[in-house]
Amino acid sequence: MNKSIMILTLCGLLTACGGGGGDEGEASPASAPAPAPASTPDTSTDNTSNTVTSTGDLAAPAGFDYHPAATQTVQVDISGYSTDRAYLSIYSQYHQLSDGDYLPVYDSRILSSPLAAGELTLDFTMVTDEGPVLAEIWFYDGSAPLVQVFERGESVWYW
């Protein structure tokens, strides 16, 4: 996904969602610090170097541990927007509806956590995979959730 388009989409979404009493002139949740460039895994297939036919003939670099998971940090601070009781969920899969809204695949939840006065920082374990993830913050008044799409490969997700 093209990042500049993604952020524009999110801004539009949040404006459209409205509500919650926040002042859009300051500290919009979408105006998080720009994350570092993504170091996404190389997903291209390697069709040229298949030189052996038996796994037992391969040699891997020393120290390679074949571990398809890594620690991911998520850092949320929406206190400028709201400090009300709120709840963060992150989903590995989601749909984008025809009206632009996102609908999580609820079964694909990776984590769920309350925010403390609009803030949360935590590390968690996530498998290596492709595609962005969807984060939602719900307030308990039933207003529309805040929504953010995060790219895999960024070691810290800022919100």
Partner: protein
């Protein structure tokens, strides 16, 4: 025979030959015959959904006393207008059947067919029978009507043969009593009070011995409906192997809402199950203590192609899916319409989202006290809540006395109102969802996700050269951590044994490195296998570290009949072994050293079993295989096993379970992986593994995806 009836007789013979084609199969639906001229409806007994099949049967008469003949696959009935016997085939066109000695002083509206014989009953007149076999060779044969008995004291409006014992059963309309009739003598025997009265104009059996009765019309008293018409009730009359009733309780249980009617009669092929192979009925997938399966009168919805939850529509299920299956594992993932988007904390407001395909009514239940049932009054959190098409945000207040921990919810979305947590519905969908009731400041982390699995694939020829088909043990695994105030308080590990391509016997265990065994709260730690609580959590009490043996012998646990379990193309079997390990820690326990999920899942040699040459005989628990660079447990026999063969493990460098070429004996894949078939080298099935392993820098990171597989080489 007088002249007036002769043309009719000729017509009848003609119509038998021209129109009557028997049914192709033994259909699952019930047939309801109503009115004059008679109309034929198909009733789905499971949901109550009714469709008009034929409103022109070629007669102006009413046909009653109908029964399905399994032998020739015609429906036989009695024409109450013209007092004659008729039959109809799959096109529902009436054809006359010629008889002699049919009584002319009264009609019949009670009848059924069994063993190629049509039985007719009339209260105070008697029980009669007609042998139908002459029709096999001559559709115009004249069939004698034989009076079995004059005894007919029970007030019946339908009766049905039990396919298991060949006896007739009917419910007396006035008393609600269930009677059994001996078809050779007409003698009735009282069985039990079903608790339901009314004119049960249609009764049907299914192949499992359940008896279904349908009440014709509302019964009113003083202007108030005291018994609703159209209700379908079910009586469990299933038989055990010796032919005795399994249940002693014959109470008629409300099963579904069918059509109201008069001049009502039913016929059904009693040898059919009530659900077709190509089911168009949705079931839930909570444990069966919540009443999920059809046998438990679990909730089910007729698919109406209009009403469902989520984006994905609904698929038909043959029955409620209970462990180790789930509704999402069969067909499409259709349990996708309900989201618990906030914490569920006792006494506090909770938000739930419901994505609806159209307007309709939602009812919902949550098992607050974790007793495995939705039976408490407070369990019902939504009642006929009107939903709009699209996303709906709904509130409820979590029960103040809710018990923290895992429990189940059930949501039913339908065009009908008044649904309970069980029973049939003519439209919509049922979704069952597990949820966690939490205390304050609690979060959950799922690996890889709340319903996903990673795959662990082991080679068991360690420490010698593997054949790298990576299927000796294949386990799907999911871990959920519940953290209270940032400290892990509870761990739930769920696993499914996906394949066993091993000749040796192996066990499976999970160790929590750097966590002392004494940190575990043994009272709140337990193991379930296929939904059954085990007497022992599997914790290894002779270890310092916390470690749990899930199974000492997966070959025993898997219960399979092929040479290998799910690695051979020509011998496919279903997943048959699922476990759920719940680990709780003591309040002040130090779990700060706990590594990332999934910790350390490993295989070990089954005790007292041979595990290959060049090793200690029967190494048992002292032989282990872990993921690459994961140190073995304190029970591993480092002295006699480590470094043998091609193992290049080395305590000093922290290298474990790898060869000198740094190849592993075990891999973890981030999703439910399609493993190579028996003796197919990993590279042959997944060519991109070469670049992944030899470069070691993220090249071909998605080598394991099915898109990158040679599909003929994977299971």
């Amino acid at each position: 025979m007088n002249k007036l009836t002769l043309p009719a007789f000729v017509m009848a013979v003609w119509s038998v030959h021209a129109n009557a084609t028997p049914f192709d199969t033994c259909p699952s639906k019930a047939y309801l015959f109503q009115s004059a001229p008679v109309k034929v409806y198909g009733v789905n007994l499971v949901t109550g959904a009714t469709t008009l099949l034929e409103d022109d049967t070629g007669t102006t008469a009413n046909v009653n006393g109908v029964g399905f003949n399994f032998t020739d696959r015609y429906i036989y009935g009695y024409d109450t207008t013209n007092k004659k016997i008729v039959r109809m085939g799959k096109n529902f066109q009436v054809a006359d059947v010629n008889t002699s000695d049919l009584p002319t002083d009264h009609t019949f509206y009670v009848g059924d067919v069994y063993d190629h014989t049509y039985y007719l009953y009339r209260t105070n007149k008697g029980l009669f029978k007609i042998d139908l076999s002459p029709l096999d060779s001559d559709a115009s044969a004249v069939l004698p009507v034989v009076k079995i008995s004059s005894r007919a004291t029970v007030s019946l409006t339908d009766m049905a043969f039990h396919p298991g014992n060949g006896k007739l059963y009917g419910i007396d309309n006035n008393s609600g009593f269930l009677y059994e009739f001996d078809p050779t003598s007409g003698q009735e025997t009282y069985i039990a009070d079903t608790g339901q009265k009314g004119t049960f104009g249609a009764g049907y059996f299914d192949v499992n011995g359940y008896y279904y009765v349908s009440r014709n019309n509302d019964v009113s008293s003083g202007g108030v409906v005291i018994r609703e018409g159209g209700k379908i009730y079910r009586v469990n009359m299933s038989l055990d192997e010796s032919g005795d009733f399994v249940e002693s309780d014959f109470t008629a249980v409300e099963f579904a809402d069918g059509p109201m009617s008069n001049q009502n009669d039913g016929a059904r092929c009693a040898n059919a199950p009530v659900i077709d192979e190509d089911s168009n009925i949705d079931f839930g997938d909570a444990p069966d203590s919540y009443k999920t399966t059809l046998a438990s009168n679990g909730p089910r919805h007729q698919l109406d192609e209009l009403t469902w939850l989520g984006l994905n529509g609904v698929d038909g299920d043959s029955d409620g899916a209970v462990s180790p299956d789930s509704d999402d594992l069969t067909g499409i993932d259709d349990e996708d319409g309900i989201g618990f988007v906030t914490a569920v904390e006792p006494g506090l407001d909770t938000l739930v989202t419901a994505y609806a395909s159209t307007t309709g009514y939602l009812s919902g239940w949550i098992d607050w006290d974790g007793d495995g049932e939705f039976d408490e009054p407070g369990d019902k959190v939504f009642e006929d809540q009107l939903l709009q098409a699209g996303q709906n945000v709904l509130f409820f207040e979590a029960d103040l006395n809710a018990v923290a921990g895992d429990t189940w919810s059930r949501f039913r979305f339908s065009q009908q109102t008044g649904l309970d947590a069980d029973g049939g519905s003519t439209s919509g969908e049922v979704e069952d969802h597990g949820l966690t009731i939490t205390a304050a400041n609690t979060r959950q982390e799922h690996f890889p996700s709340s319903t996903g699995f990673v795959t662990l694939a082991y080679e068991d020829n360690y420490p010698y050269t593997a054949d790298y088909d990576m299927n000796d043990v294949v386990m799907f695994l999911r871990v959920t951590e519940t953290l209270k105030d940032d400290v892990v308080a509870k761990i739930k590990v769920t696993g499914q044994l996906a394949a066993l391509g091993a000749s040796y016997h192996n066990g499976f265990a999970i160790r929590l490195p750097n966590v002392a065994r004494t940190a575990v709260n043994t009272q709140l730690t337990y193991l379930k296998v296929n939904g059954q609580l085990q007497s022992d959590s599997g914790m290894e009490t002779d270890m310092q570290e916390a470690s749990f043996v899930i199974s000492n012998d997966l070959n025993e646990a898997a219960d399979f009949s092929c040479q290998y379990f799910r690695t051979l193309e020509n011998c496919r079997e279903d997943i048959s072994y699922e476990f759920e390990l719940t680990i709780s820690f003591n309040p002040d326990a130090d779990v700060s050293g706990l590594p990332d999920m999934p910790y350390d899942p490993f295989i070990f040699a089954t005790p007292d079993k041979y595990h290959g040459e060049g090793m200690p005989e029967h190494p048992g628990r002292s032989w282990e295989v872990h993921l690459a660079d994961q140190a073995p447990t304190e029970k591993f026999d480092k002295v006699n096993i480590m470094g043998l063969g091609v193992d290049d493990s080395n305590d000093a460098t922290g290298k474990y379970f790898k060869t000198s070429n740094n190849l592993p004996w075990a891999l973890m894949l981030p999703e439910q992986w399609e493993w190579p078939k028996e003796r197919v080298d990993l590279l042959k099935a997944y060519p991109d593994f070469e670049g992944y392993a030899t470069e070691g820098d993220g090249t071909n990171a998605l080598w394991y995806k099915s898109d990158n597989a040679v599909s003929a080489e994977t299971y």
